[in-house]
């Protein structure tokens, strides 16, 4: 197992301890596996909460910060946090204006966040939900509600976070967050799996010359598995699948995210970005604020995801608004 760790059972807690120790001006851990902004909730601001399994840094914990999220609940690697953790994150995020739950569409997370919402209702804390489901490979357009949430989630975190900083109401922040969620389409591809520390073995197997298209960030099966292709062919297919789901043309404005799942280096992401940009240039689509890097990972998985976020004036303004966490600074 090519990992630097102590006892697998301590992986998540040691990681969170290190994260908070490295960035004490940004993150705090007021109760186990609940991470908040260092200063806690902001009075009068809608609180934004997410949560999910570990192993995806900077998702989810990383995006707590100014102009972003207020709190997260963190589970074991690739496992949902408990409803009680989620309720605690929501309590910690509440500044008196209500709390938006904004998280990826996975069964355990949905069930536990629903329960957490019910707990908070009994405590007279208003809350709403936007479920993020950007992965076009995980269900057909007619069944969008079944899709998984992947790297495109970060656009919703950023845009909803900026709207909340403007002191918009819970309804307004929820409406904007849903618009951001609806604006995003993602697809992933993998060249190699990752290893869950407590399992100690790869989440799937891929031959030395094989790739998989459409794979999820936990190793969920994709659309096809075959010999690897050149970067431009891979990028073209990813763009084709995204554009089939969200047709774009002249005068459209988008941000795109070329995201490494972990091991794939920046060099390769830029080779993919170059091709994706050429495709959008051909369509007359303008790219604003492109993101290239590691924004949502599966530990050391080799592969990449591509996200298109279609912007209107409001979404672009909020995407460009100031923000600060350990991984994403907008000035």
């Amino acid at each position: 197992m090519k990992k630097i760790l102590n006892r697998p059972v301590d992986y998540v807690d040691e990681m969170l301890d290190g994260l908070c120790a490295a960035h004490p001006d940004i993150y705090a851990q007021p109760s186990p596996r609940v991470i908040t902004r260092a200063g806690g909730a902001t009075a009068g601001k809608v609180g934004l909460v997410t949560g999910g399994g570990s192993g995806h840094l900077p998702v989810f914990t990383g995006y707590v910060g100014r102009g972003l999220l207020d709190a997260t609940a963190i589970g074991d690697v690739f496992a949902s946090p408990s409803a009680e953790q989620m309720a605690e994150a929501m309590r910690r995020a509440d500044g008196g204006a209500g709390v938006l739950r904004l998280y990826g569409n996975y069964g355990g997370d949905v069930m536990n966040f629903d329960m957490a919402g019910e707990m908070l209702e009994m405590e007279d804390i208003a809350s709403t939900t936007v479920v993020l489901a950007d992965d076009v490979a995980s269900a057909a357009p007619e069944e969008r509600a079944k899709r998984r949430g992947v790297a495109g989630m970060i656009y919703a975190f950023k845009i909803a976070g900026a709207r909340a900083e403007e002191r918009a109401s819970l309804d307004e922040v929820t409406t904007t967050a849903q618009k951001a969620a609806d604006a995003c389409r993602s697809i992933g591809m993998a060249l190699s799996p990752c290893i869950v520390p407590q399992a100690g073995r790869p989440t799937f197997e891929l031959g030395e010359d094989e790739m998989e298209m459409g794979m999820g960030i936990h190793g969920e099966p994709g659309i096809w598995r075959d010999k690897t292709k050149p970067a431009d062919a891979i990028t073209d297919e990813m763009m084709d699948r995204l554009l089939a789901d969200t047709p774009l043309g002249r005068d459209d404005r988008v941000s795109i995210l070329v995201n490494s799942l972990g091991a794939t280096p920046l060099e390769e992401l830029y080779i993919m970005f170059r091709r994706a940009k050429a495709r959008l240039d051909d369509l007359g689509v303008a790219i604003t604020m492109p993101l290239v890097g590691r924004y949502a990972t599966s530990m050391e998985m080799t592969g990449a995801t591509m996200t298109i976020c279609r912007l209107d004036g409001e979404l672009e303004r909020l995407l460009r608004a100031p923000a600060n966490c350990a991984y994403w600074t907008v000035t």
Copy 2:
């Protein structure tokens, strides 16, 4: 080969094209494989130039930006750029106040940068050199001049960059850069190699349960190779070796960099940071502005480096000064 690329021969140029296309407000490529700030040289400011092989992003190209470097010359993967490229980078960086060459201690880079300096002398552009040699595993303390430059180089880029922004003279910037270089000690360890695209095979072999301590960022042999150890034992040995080379005690202030060589995820870096911080806490050493992430990589190599940068008042002020590139924003 678990890589997303087109023809290996196009790897570097496609990567640089993508980098400049993604960040046109930061980077420009006025001549092949010479990257400058988007706005070119700054009149009256000392120009800072580095260079080296590709495959280390964000090093070297990435650290061109405000408060950082002015230009870089980029070679093939793990190969030195030519003297002519280096001379061109220096010309592009010159704002009339002279140019500092600031680069890692590798034979080809030293030879070519010396030649480039001679070329510039004939063109009446003054230049100085600071060679970065922070890797304690690569030579004994008595032979510090033989050491390799690794991740600690980025402290010299940042600190010298901030000093140049203050409009210090070439001599003053050179003195500060040398002080920053002298303040840094690094050591690396690897769990798996990377693959140079044009070679198509790993740079070295390591068994599934093996690690190597003291390895260089191109796969240069380290101090020992043996069974993998727990994260705390690995971190302790790295800290012991760094502290043996630069003893620290109460009232000392340092920045530390826990850097992934590529595939090693943030989660594991935070597990290491947590231990490194505990060691420094025990000594009464204060950590300011710790860095945890991918700052100097070897593409998809698995492993990490640890750097200690011992700060005095000047170095800390300059480390904290504003800077902006695609990978490092200080506000």
